[in-house]
Symmetry: C2
Subunit: 351 residues, 2 copies
DNA sequence: TTGAAAGCGCTAACAC
DNA sequence: GTGTTAGCGCTTTCAA
């Protein structure tokens, strides 16, 4: 066991600059009450010695830990990873969050927690005790789990909830799901579609409701009927297949379908082919999420891009602002996605 | 600014169990010289109070930091992420490394560093000073960068090099690239192919050489000619396209091609289609890496799986063993991949 | 086998 | 504006 000591500490800098530890500390944390010349002198020593504060020591003295914890559902995340279906949200979260953290001298730590387990609180407490993070990012379905949010509140650790309902002004972010669903509807209407079906996602996710509501409201606003045009899946391929089958064999066969995620859209595409329908000739298709795979399906799918990386980056930014006591914008913060046109949408066949 | 204190500290446990801090510390670190009954009593208090040691404090007192740093090339990683071509190695690294870390009470921190920049050392020094990681995982091309390895050696921080040449017994891991390339060759030979082309990867990666060597040796061992059957790309789609074009318009038109990664394989597939060749009828194709996208190409590609997650998990394990002073296996440790059969390989057309 | 004391690197609180 | 002091939670001495 090697006993590792910091090679350059605040003491070295203080000695080199001929000032007290405290002054160096003030410079590091860009506090007030340091004369510019002092500050310059200290900074010169810092640069010269290549000094970087130890986050462990900073944390120990009751200050920040410079650690942000990103919490994800264990079961789902591992399942998605093992399935290797080209879903890249872990990638997006990590890159978006990590890059923003790096900009501010923070680090992102990714952690999996069992939402359904009774041990959520124990697991989370352990992570908090070990890491003392300055902020926590919660994704669905954690974001709506009171066991988690209450615990964080009790520990006074700021947290950002992604894709969850806003509550009491706490940090919350969405990607504008309802507006995006409405956007998809209007895009199809503009192409001439009137019977636009919708495949909803699992009720466990708040955003499933938002997406469905966006579809419903846009349809209603356009004076289009919606009866028999909505089926619910659970975001899995299989559930999408079943929903698509119901939709396409129902009385009011839609000429276009919006699916609440890519897997269900891909399933719908397969079902359509199986039924001898051509996409987009006989059926137009728009999916949600825009994970990499939709570009490789035949036809490449027109999709609603979910700006996961930007959203997580913003969450990090808000958490850091909260740490600094800076004023936060009104919640929820919306990082709106957009419609990416590819080849799965066309005008409906006459008749 | 909230001043956060540990809610349950070693003191609380010591008081609850009626022992000294030291004894609790010994139990936590499962050291010798604690009577079983003492140990049980302390453990009971730990469980009762839900005590978890603060890694900051542990690190401060000269012990471990329980942090493993995974270093990746900034430029490449960001580029791959932005391209969104379905390459999932960040995902694989993160999940493989994180899960193994979690098993041992460690955390994985992902960090990007500019390999080519003169600032590599400065960047790395900063990360080391801030985090004091117990180990570092190096991927290509970092794994071969002496600026990095020398610095880590000087700081006496154990590091694991993935996909790099073994040197002086330091921790190194490979995925058996040469054997896998040979496996692909033999798979094609078994189908009846004799003119098997190879598209090599960038020279900057040691594994490019291994893969090519595996192909070369297997061909030679089978008594097959290799002249004019190898072209070099740089792992990009475009370079694969160019290489495929050269290969397929050369004098010895191959009946099968092995590409050193998926992007170049997909490019080859596209070029073949463009030239009016059918895959696998006129050209069989095997790619390296087996990222999710190859399943969605037409035809789905037979590919060499690279067990990135397992390899990174093993790297973490070895680093933790090194930390504990446990004996390490001979290097390099090989986590061998396998051939995943799909639809891009068939017997060559008679002719 | 156990305990007491010192100190890791840093910042908060207070003095000057 | 700047320096001094105390202490964060833990492990490493060293003493009992």
């Amino acid at each position: 066991m090697v006993r590792r000591r910091q090679s350059v500490t605040i003491k070295h800098v203080a000695a080199d600059a001929g000032v007290s530890l405290q002054t160096v500390s003030r410079v590091i944390n860009s506090e007030a009450n340091v004369r510019p010349e002092m500050k310059a002198r200290v900074q010169a020593s810092i640069d010269k010695l290549g000094y970087v504060p130890s986050i462990a020591a900073q944390r120990m003295s009751g200050s920040k830990s410079y650690l942000i914890l990103a919490l994800n559902d264990r079961e789902r995340t591992i399942e998605a990873w093992k399935a290797r279906e080209g879903n890249d949200w872990v990638d997006q979260m990590l890159m978006g969050g990590m890059l923003m953290c790096a900009e501010h001298g923070y680090r992102l730590i990714f952690e999996l927690v069992d939402t359904h387990d009774d041990n959520v609180q124990r697991e989370l407490k352990a992570a908090i005790a070990a890491l003392q993070p300055d902020g926590v990012i919660l994704t669905p379905p954690h974001a709506d789990n009171p066991l988690i949010t209450d615990l964080l509140t009790a520990h006074r650790i700021p947290f950002a909830r992604i894709g969850a309902e806003t509550r009491d002004g706490a940090i919350a972010l969405t990607m504008g799901d309802d507006r995006l669903a409405a956007l998809a509807v209007r895009h199809l209407i503009a192409k001439g579609h009137e019977r636009i079906g919708f495949i909803a996602g699992s009720r466990e996710y708040a955003l499933s409701g938002w997406r469905k509501r966006g579809w419903l409201e846009a349809m209603t606003a356009a004076g289009l009927a919606t009866d028999g045009l909505c089926e619910r899946g659970d975001f899995s391929y299989d559930s999408g297949e079943a929903a698509a089958r119901r939709l396409l064999s129902g009385k009011v066969r839609p000429t276009a379908i919006i699916a609440s995620n890519d897997q269900m859209a891909m399933a719908t595409n397969a079902v359509a082919h199986e039924l001898g329908m051509r996409v987009p000739g006989d059926l137009s298709l728009i999916s949600f999420d825009n994970t990499p795979v939709v570009r490789f399906v035949q036809p490449p799918l027109t999709a609603i891009e979910q700006p996961v990386a930007d959203t997580v980056a913003k969450a990090v930014e808000l958490l850091i602002m909260a740490n600094r006591g800076e004023p936060l914008p009104p919640m929820p913060v919306v990082i709106e996605g957009s419609l990416i046109e590819r080849d799965s949408v066309a005008a409906p066949r006459r008749g």
